[in-house]
């Protein structure tokens, strides 16, 4: 148990050292969602109608939080697939450390970066006029839902990266994240889309979190219930945690 904690910490610390070594890269990663936020808030925002009325920026921010969590999939994929491609994963596997430590180290590091990323975006959101209206309790619950989504996507990312085995597939993941994000309630309400597309968007796990957090923050537009935003991440975890662990242990 002690060895597990110590090894997990060593591997988390590795990511912290990477950040310290490459602060510019870290800053770019944090500011990219801010750029998207500003684009949608000020360039497209004027043309957007929020169903039922309300400020588009108030509608947009919960979606942007979700999008930032989805972008995390790319950084998880990149980190894990780079290690696998370079033989670093193999080196770990020939050392007396458990699979659990390696995967815990990765997830703690990625969750730290998710918390920082979310904090930055909440700050910029407040600057462009977004507010939460239902008190700190509901706001914290919304943050919890967002981090749950990130945590679920993290394990999906680990599994995907171990299957891909090399970072060259990153482009494909990046290309997939965008349609996944647009085909949801992140930027626009599904009721404004053609019927069948709207139905797909409604069922997108990203929509579940976006809608539920909108409701909890008291923001206008396409709201939704709490339970799908918990059920989706749970389902993803139930599927991908065992798959990722198995894949790590039996890499060929």
């Amino acid at each position: 148990m002690t060895a597990y904690l110590v090894d997990s910490w060593t591997l988390t610390r590795r990511t912290l050292l990477q950040w310290r070594n490459q602060p510019a890269q870290l800053a770019l990663g944090l500011l990219f969602p801010v750029m998207i936020l500003l684009m949608f808030a000020y360039l497209f925002g004027g043309a957007m109608q929020v169903p039922g009325g309300g400020d588009y920026r108030e509608f947009l921010l919960p979606g942007m939080f979700v999008l930032t969590m989805a972008f995390g999939l790319e950084s998880t994929f990149q980190a894990v697939s780079t290690d696998a491609g370079r033989g670093v994963t193999d080196r770990f596997r020939t050392m007396p450390i458990s699979a659990a430590s390696v995967l815990t180290g990765r997830s703690v590091a990625d969750m730290l970066s998710a918390v920082v990323g979310l904090a930055v975006l909440i700050g910029f959101g407040a600057l462009v006029g977004w507010r939460w209206h239902n008190g700190p309790g509901d706001a914290l619950l919304a943050v919890f839902l967002l981090l749950s989504l990130r945590y679920a996507l993290l394990w999906f990312g680990i599994w995907l990266a171990l299957v891909a085995g090399k970072p060259e597939m990153l482009m494909a993941v990046q290309i997939l994240v965008w349609p996944l994000a647009f085909l949801s309630s992140v930027f626009t309400a599904p009721e404004t889309m053609p019927g069948w597309l709207g139905a797909v968007a409604e069922w997108n796990p990203l929509s579940a979190t976006a809608s539920a957090t909108r409701e909890l923050f008291g923001n206008p537009g396409h709201g939704g219930e709490f339970w799908p935003a918990i059920a989706w991440p749970l389902l993803l975890l139930v599927v991908f945690v065992p798959l990722a662990v198995r894949r790590y242990r039996r890499l060929t």
Partner: protein, 320 residues
């Protein structure tokens, strides 16, 4: 007598319908360098992956540093080092940060990990570059860092899977030097390589592997001896006298003369080295060069594996 450092018997591993390793046997005495030779896809890497606990065999058993690689994988892992085909280091961390991280993961403790990192950086000529990101290192430096990471615990058995692939001759020499001094300190090394020169330079024992099986084993000299005779080689001054020279050599030698018109060269296997040399010197005219040579490891390799390894061919010829 000490137990062998590596003892594998009947190792078999299939991937789908291909058999990567087929009843593979290997014994490596402690404190020696053993070379595993074979063309691309012969099963070298599969063998190393099983012996380093990365892959489970479908059949067979193996003990490394006294422990079973499947049932006592953790014990094996605390006694071995692996240096694979690529430099397995974090390019975003400095050389020092890499070694300290791997040291901590080997449970050396933070203080010892730091001290070992400094020692190894010094030893591998990386002290000056210690605090630069490994991604900025040259290929040779990254390789040395990788080798250093494989040595953090002073492993009983070190696996080197094509450790000099893609390195220039100078960097290759640096790596060879390190391997030699390791063995002098008592580490057992299993080296896979396509470069026959590398095997000839470093390894005491050799095993040639082809299609997943060991097809020959012994010292480099034994393997060369197995292939048989020494060769008498003649280079003539004028290409037009090549045919005549070939005919004469055919009478002196024990086999069919081999012609290389581009280099104006004929070679033939001979039994009595000195008599053949004297006879050739007396009877041949217009000779530019006359040499006796043993078969190269390259030729041994080609005759055992039926060629296929172009990289090996080129590298071996350079050495011959």
């Amino acid at each position: 007598m000490r137990d062998p450092a590596i003892e594998a018997s009947g190792l078999t591993r299939r991937f789908g319908s291909t058999t990567a390793l087929d009843n593979f046997d290997l014994t490596v005495p402690a404190g020696t360098v053993h070379g595993l030779l074979g063309p691309n896809g012969a099963g070298k890497t599969t063998a190393v992956r099983i012996l380093t606990t990365l892959l489970r065999p479908d059949a067979g058993r193996a003990r490394v540093a006294g422990h079973d690689v499947v049932r006592e994988a953790d014990r094996v892992r605390s006694r071995i080092g692996l240096v694979g085909q690529q430099a397995a280091v974090d390019e975003q961390l400095s050389g020092r940060q890499n070694l300290e991280m791997f040291g901590r993961l080997h449970h050396l403790g933070a203080t010892t990990a730091r001290r070992r990192a400094t020692e190894l950086l010094e030893r591998f000529g990386l002290a000056e570059a210690a605090d630069r990101a490994a991604g900025k290192y040259s290929g040779g430096m990254r390789r040395r860092l990788d080798l250093a990471a494989g040595l953090l615990i002073g492993p009983a058995v070190l696996f080197l899977d094509e450790p000099t692939a893609g390195l220039d001759p100078r960097a290759r020499n640096e790596v060879w030097q390190e391997i030699r001094s390791l063995v002098a300190e008592g580490t057992t090394v299993l080296l896979t390589t396509q470069y026959l020169e590398e095997a000839d330079q470093l390894a005491e024992g050799l095993a040639v592997i082809d299609r997943g099986r060991v097809v020959a084993a012994g010292t480099a000299d034994e393997l060369k001896g197995q292939l048989g005779a020494d060769h008498l080689e003649v280079v003539v001054r004028d290409a037009s006298s090549l045919a005549a020279a070939a005919e004469l050599l055919g009478r002196i030698g024990t086999g069919e003369p081999q012609l290389d018109p581009d280099r104006r060269r004929v070679s033939v296997p001979v039994r009595d080295r000195v008599a053949a040399l004297v006879e050739a010197a007396k009877t041949l005219h217009g000779v530019e060069d006359l040499t006796l040579r043993r078969p190269t490891l390259d030729e041994v390799f080609l005759s055992l594996t039926g060629a296929g390894a172009t990289g090996a061919g080129v590298a071996g010829r350079g050495a011959a």
